[in-house]
């Protein structure tokens, strides 16, 4: 149960975005991918659940192993892969449905429940897990777009969790939120790592410092350094990592 990239190269049109990436992301931990803007963090994340397929002119070389299976070339069932890997994007993006509908959507398309009662119970459970259930009591069937941004982001998390994934990808999931919501979501991720493997792209070093078990530092499409957070933050081996951590560039 892990995600592993082997000799991964990604090109978009003529740009070489990811260069020979070799990493293994340990399970049931939070791995933070850090690095300056445009270094390929998001591309790497989008390769893991193959959302990158919808980008124009994309070419992928090498392997990405999810649970030991190569997802790039094996002709793996892409919808099952995406169910297994939840995604929380940068800006919360509720579907044009009610709050209930948002969480139930994934369960419905994956045909998880036969009875409506089970579905309702499942939706409530997931909303409770992200601390939304009490906040939205009685507003279950109002449009999701009316929630605050922070609430929307937690709703998106609940929506991802509802399809029972094994991995959660978070692409700067807290960057659009106010400090309090941001803290709530961050704490949620920490509490979720017992059950899920979490891979988080983050822009803020301090966030990575707070929650990461593992850190991957990327620069210009290459993985410069990867390892346990303690080691990377306290004793970075590479000069570039040292400079980045010291704030020489961001």
């Amino acid at each position: 149960m892990s995600i592993e990239a082997q000799n991964l190269n990604v090109y978009i049109k003529d740009n070489h975005i990811l260069k020979d990436v070799n990493i293994r992301l340990p399970e049931k931990q939070i791995t933070c991918i850090i690095g300056p803007s445009g270094c390929g963090k998001s591309t790497l994340l989008r390769t893991f659940n193959r959302l990158i397929d919808s980008t124009e002119g994309v070419k992928i070389e090498g392997k990405v192993l999810v649970d030991g299976q190569d997802i790039i070339h094996s002709g793996a069932e892409i919808t099952e892969l995406r169910r297994k890997i939840g995604l929380v994007s940068q800006r919360p993006c509720p579907l044009p449905m009610s709050i209930f509908g948002n969480v139930a959507y994934g369960c419905r398309i994956n045909r998880m429940f036969k009875k409506r009662k089970q579905l309702i119970y499942h939706v409530q459970k997931n909303l409770r897990d992200v601390g939304l259930l009490d906040e939205i009591k009685g507003r279950m069937h109002t449009p999701a777009a009316r929630l605050s941004i922070g609430q929307q982001q937690r709703l998106c998390l609940a929506r991802s969790l509802a399809v029972q994934p094994e991995y959660i990808l978070a692409d700067e999931a807290t960057s659009a939120l106010d400090p309090i919501s941001s803290k709530t979501v961050e704490d949620l991720f920490v509490s979720l790592k017992e059950r899920y493997t979490i891979i988080m792209v983050t822009h803020t070093l301090r966030q990575a410092l707070r929650i990461a078990d593992n850190v991957v530092f990327m620069y210009l499409g290459q993985v410069i350094e990867a390892g346990p957070a303690q080691q990377v933050f306290n004793h970075p081996q590479e000069e570039l990592t040292q400079k980045y951590l010291a704030g020489a560039f961001s």
Binding site: E56, R82, R91, G106, I109, N110
Partner: protein, 284 residues
């Protein structure tokens, strides 16, 4: 004259232009409505909308134009449904399946723009030729098909406009949950519901008011069609035929038919708006 003064003058001139334009526009709308209502009400009666034309209807004797009302509703209802069935998949394909700069999408949009501009008489002539080829006579089916062809470009162009700005994030959010593109259609439909409603209203407006395309294809009859192969009367043709009559009573009835046509469009527009508001409450 100082600058501030000049600016003020420019502003007032611009304002004057806008007000004149708006007043002219309202004047036109009001005079059209006034003509239809004042002339139409003279001949309007309960019989007009509940009776079929009697023996001497077209020389001013008893009867009504229920045949045209029902015929128009049949044709518009059926062709709107058919139009939706055909255009929704097209719009979905253009916006979700094809890449953003796809050549096929470009050519298709160009084609629909051309079709959009084709006058309805050309559709009528086209339908007529096809019908002759297949040995069909003017019929309800012929009218439905030609009207469907007429409104498909309106449907597609209007819905396409509404869908092109569809947030990519929503698509990805749906895909990320393991949805196929087909399953994502449900999400897209919910988001563009207002666009679909607008498209439907525009299409119905065009479909119900068009005389040229149904003249040769649906024909005209004094009875209500009971099968697809029978000819069907339509309101625009009821207006057209009666308006060209030398008998004043019959001409008044043309205005009554126009009044009914206007009221139907009005009712559809208002309910359409109402339904749209209901559907679009979940829009992100």
């Amino acid at each position: 004259m100082n600058i501030a003064h000049k600016k003020k003058l420019k502003e007032s001139v611009a304002k004057l232009f806008m007000w004149t334009a708006i007043l002219i526009f309202f004047g036109i709308v009001a005079s059209v409505l006034w003509t239809i209502f004042s002339k139409g009400c003279k001949a309007m009666s309960w019989d007009m909308v509940t009776q079929l034309p009697g023996g001497g209807f077209y020389i001013g004797k008893e009867g009504g134009f229920l045949n045209a009302i029902v015929g128009s509703l049949y044709i518009v209802g059926a062709s709107t449904l058919l139009g939706l069935l055909i255009s929704i998949p097209v719009v979905f394909f253009l916006n979700v399946y094809l890449k953003k700069h796809s050549k096929l999408a470009y050519v298709s949009r160009l084609a629909f723009d051309v079709l959009f501009g084709v006058p309805s008489i050309v559709y009528g002539a086209f339908g007529f030729t096809i019908m002759i080829y297949f040995g069909l006579r003017a019929s309800l089916l012929g009218g439905i098909i030609v009207i469907t062809l007429l409104i498909i470009p309106i449907f597609i162009r209007t819905m396409d406009e509404a869908t092109r700005n569809f947030p990519r994030d929503i698509l990805e959010a749906s895909f990320a949950l393991g949805a196929t593109r087909w399953e994502t259609l449900k999400v897209v439909l919910r988001q563009i519901a207002p666009g679909i409603a607008t498209a439907t209203l525009l299409s119905i407006g065009r479909a119900i008011g068009d005389a040229a395309s149904v003249m040769f294809t649906a024909g005209y009859t004094d009875s209500i069609p009971t099968s697809l192969s029978q000819p069907a009367a339509t309101l625009p043709l009821a207006v057209f035929f009666q308006l060209s009559s030398p008998i004043p009573e019959v001409v008044d009835r043309a205005y009554a038919a126009a009044l009914v046509l206007t009221i139907i469009v009005l009712i559809l527009s208002i309910t359409g708006r109402f339904i749209t508001n209901k559907f679009s409450k979940n829009k992100v």
